[in-house]
Amino acid sequence: MPQTKASVYDKQTPPAPLPARKPSPPLTVKPDGAQALAAEALVDQGRQLLAQGAPDAAIRVLERSVALDSNSGQNYYYLAEAWLMKQNVHQAREFNRLANLHLGRDPEWKTRIDRQNDRISSLGH
């Protein structure tokens, strides 16, 4: 039979106080609220995560960007890139199409989207 004991409940230990954190002085920041700006910030995060070779984390962030601003098209382009990295041709193609829908009128983006499409096609074959 295990030892019957009442030991630990005979003593009282006061909790240690938490160290106080000293805040830095606040700064005034110029507000420039824009959903598109927030979405853009997320696209940047997504790009960085892709550069780090973390497609799943990038997808999570880029999904949030789509929720904020689905008209930018850049989020779709990088989502296609992430799915390409994950070798999911179907999803990569669908997002590439959406990127083209939103950015296809921009010559520079059009070139990038077409090249991405070529890479998707070559993976598909």
């Binding site: 004991k5 954190r21 700064l27 420039d32 799943d56 999570r60 929720a67 008209n71």
Partner: protein
């Protein structure tokens, strides 16, 4: 002698059998950890429509504490005029980690004006708040239970529980002969069982293994099991399980189990922070929560607490001064904030979704963290809007009232982000306690006119919003029986023909049936195939008026295609699942599928904007929602169902109102469902940017005659109008109803206008 051996053998066998059962269940229980379900994170950014009060409520529901001074520690916040300062908690979810930071959010006229880090002064373009706990899978009833380690439980609380329930716990071996004799004496005098002599171990045995019967056989079983438990486990282990398991009250539909949860429920404190008086209060409740809860009878609760305190003092576990000080304390609770199961219908839906991955037992055992797409603010807004909307309707139409809660007028709401498929809110009925039937996912109802957009979609290969449809009364033969569709609104009963746009806006039945027949019923059914309705859609003329059944979730999903540029983002409720060490077990991403062309999706959306601006949903204009809304009302035969499905460029919501038994609602979709939709949208400005739907390539604008639907350029059409067309269906003929313009006459008219001062 033989008898003795046989009895001994039987007793040994029985003991061995019980020991096996205890081993199995008890060890499983020791390691049993409920899975916790979390909402999605909350995005905040400058310019977002999010008022200060709403955000403060969100922070409170995340557990942030309001303080008077500047927040210096994680979890603290303060509100000042026009700003909230908050020291955010560390935030770690799959693929994301952010240490706690102090920030200040400034507000201006219901919007976030700026977000800044107060430690570095950095301006933040975006801020993400941690997910909020929605509930736990602890068992079928989803009790509230905050598991605590025995090391976290203050000594005073342990002693108080022992004083209240089993003061000789550390001295006995599972049963307490003194206690049993005392109870026996009391029961003998009373002639019935009035008092139990159960030890904590016996209570545990009773709670885990046995029915609540008060029989001699059960008592014997308790005794044997208690001894076995004591033989196999340490006292601390037994105590820890007991303190986490005991029932300590009820809040609405939620049972409060364990001291961890009880401390939050009664005192809004973590268990480690409770005072001696509070510990004695909790311990006093154990005996009969329905009797001693401070929320039920504060005076009785105080008397019981005092008895526990005196019992502690009698054991010398507290000093006399501690006793006097604790006795002098009033019972100070945080105030009952009746807990209702958060998003209960969503939780049910979730557990169904999780069935494919985990067994119900795994969910209650493995301590998984399940991260979902739910937004608690949207869920809250949807629940409130539905409740208020149904109550309003019952007030305005008294015959809709029902006394029986299971027969009441019902409603359901689902909110989806059409471009991600994230389910933000799900309300499957007006009162989960009365009915757990989820009318969003389980019911099958006729969509009525809410189905019409799909008839118009099927026609878009040949026709345009300007095409003319017959509005004349016609009789169709269905299975040998005549059927003559009629129009509901007076204004669409008179004209002999109407444009497609007008027909959809006014929800014109005759014209829509005409359109379905022109398009071909088989073609309509064919168009519906990619939308994957699980209910059969058959090529009958009444299909045009939505006279078949759909699952509301599937109807909302289908509308998402219009809102999402022709792409279906499959509805998603679960994003990530991690184990108890935070390791990712499964992950679901935005999954898209192109169903129709962006051009067709845009044209339907644009026509649905007309429903709101000039059609059956025009009452929405009174709600002053920012930006354009597309939507469709639906009302079925005899007013059995009332629908409104509406969306902005950011968010889509479906509202259904009806009776489960098919009794008439006696109100149209515009009257019954639309106000619920509008109230919901007004409450979540953070999701409504006001942006318009973007016209894709392949759609062009032309000026056409509103009577003929053909080109008005160069003609004398009295009411020319801008209309949109899919590029290859642009009309190439001039309006035949009105003669060509005479340039000389036009010039003279212009000069006349000039002299008249007309513009």
């Amino acid at each position: 002698m033989i008898l003795l051996v046989l009895v001994s053998a039987a007793a040994t066998l029985y003991g061995w059998y019980l020991s096996g059962r205890i081993e199995k269940r008890f060890s499983a229980r020791l390691w049993r950890m409920p899975s916790t379900v979390y909402s999605d994170t909350t995005l905040l950014y400058p310019g977002q429509g999010f008022d200060q009060k709403n955000l403060a409520e969100k922070l409170k529901s995340l557990g942030y504490r309001m303080i008077a001074g500047r927040p210096n520690n994680q979890g603290e916040m303060r509100m000042t005029k026009g700003s909230i300062e908050v020291y955010l908690n560390d935030f770690k979810i799959p693929s994301q980690h952010r240490p706690g930071i102090p920030v200040r959010l400034r507000f201006d006229r219901g919007r976030i004006k700026s977000i800044e880090r107060t430690d570095t002064g950095d301006r933040l373009p975006i801020l993400e708040l941690e997910p909020e706990e929605i509930g736990q899978f602890y068992g079928p009833e989803r009790e509230r239970r905050q598991l605590v380690s025995i090391r976290q439980v203050p000594t005073n609380l342990v002693r108080a529980a022992l004083a209240a329930e089993d003061s000789r716990f550390f001295g006995h071996h599972g049963f307490d002969p003194v206690g049993i004799l005392r109870a026996f004496y009391v029961n003998l005098r009373a002639g019935r069982i009035r008092q139990g002599g159960s030890t904590i171990t016996q209570q545990l045995a009773k709670n885990f293994f046995l029915t609540p019967d008060r029989t001699i056989a059960r008592k014997l079983n308790e005794l044997i099991m208690s001894v076995i438990i004591e033989l196999k486990y340490q006292k601390e282990e037994i105590l820890e399980i007991y303190l986490n398991d005991i029932y300590l009250g009820q809040s609405g539909t939620v049972a409060i189990n364990g001291v961890g949860e009880a401390c939050l429920f009664y005192f809004a404190k973590p268990v480690k922070d409770i005072s001696l008086a509070e510990a004695a209060t909790i311990a006093g409740i154990i005996r009969a929560p329905g009797r001693y809860s401070p929320y039920i009878d504060k005076e009785r609760c105080r008397q019981r607490r005092d008895a526990v305190l005196k019992a502690m003092a009698a054991k010398n576990w507290i000093s006399d001064s501690e006793l006097q000080s604790a006795l002098a304390r009033p019972i100070e609770t945080v105030g009952e904030n009746v807990m209702v199961k958060k998003a209960p219908y969503f939780m049910d839906y979730l557990s169904h979704q999780l069935e494919a991955l985990y067994s119900p037992d795994d969910l209650t055992r493995l301590g998984l963290a399940i991260y979902t797409t739910l937004d608690t603010r949207v869920q809250d807004a949807a629940e409130k809007a539905l409740y208020r909307g149904l109550t309003r309707l019952e007030k305005s139409i008294a015959t809709l009232k029902r006394a029986d809660p299971t027969q009441k007028l019902q409603g359901a709401v689902i909110v989806i982000q059409p471009k991600t498929g994230f389910i933000l809110a799900m309300v499957g009925g007006r009162d989960y306690a009365a009915s757990q039937y989820n009318r969003i996912t389980q019911s099958r109802r006729q969509p009525g006119s809410a189905f019409k957009p799909f008839i118009y979609l099927a026609a878009l290969d040949q026709l345009t919003p300007a095409s003319r449809l017959s509005n004349e009364s016609r009789t169709y033969m269905i299975d040998g029986k005549p059927w003559t569709p009629g129009n509901a609104e007076q204004e669409v009963k008179t004209n002999t023909s109407v444009s497609m746009r007008t027909a959809l806006a006014a929800s014109n039945n005759r014209a829509t049936v005409d359109l379905a027949m022109k398009t071909g019923l088989e073609q309509v059914v064919e168009t519906m195939v990619p939308f994957q309705f699980s209910t059969p859609i058959k090529p009958y003329p009444s299909l045009a008026l939505g006279a078949f059944e759909v699952v509301p979730l599937e109807l909302a999903r289908a509308y998402c295609v219009f809102a999402g540029d022709g792409v279906l983002s499959h509805p998603l409720s679960i994003k990530d699942v991690t184990d108890d060490h935070g390791r990712l077990l499964s992950q679901a991403h935005l999954n898209i599928e192109r169903l129709i062309s962006p051009a067709k999706a845009y044209i339907i959306t644009d026509m649905l904007k007309s429903v709101v601006s000039e059609g059956t949903a025009r009452a929405l204009s009174g709600w002053n929602l920012p930006g354009p809304v597309a939507g469709k009302t639906g009302t079925t035969n005899n007013f059995r169902d009332a629908w409104f499905v509406g969306y902005t460029s950011d968010i889509l919501a479906l509202v259904w109102v009806g009776f489960d038994n098919g009794d008439p609602v006696k109100a149209s979709g515009a009257k019954a469902a639309l106000p619920i939709w509008a109230e919901l949208m007004k409450a979540i400005p953070q999701y409504i940017s006001g942006a318009d739907f973007k016209m894709p390539a392949g759609v062009v604008t032309r000026t056409v005659c509103s009577e003929s639907g053909l080109l008005a350029a160069g003609r004398t059409c009295p009411v020319p109008m801008e209309e949109i067309f899919i590029e290859n269906l642009v009309p190439d003929q001039p309006c035949p109803l009105h003669p060509a313009r005479n340039p000389i006459k036009d010039l003279i008219d212009d000069i006349k206008d000039l002299f008249d001062g007309s513009p």
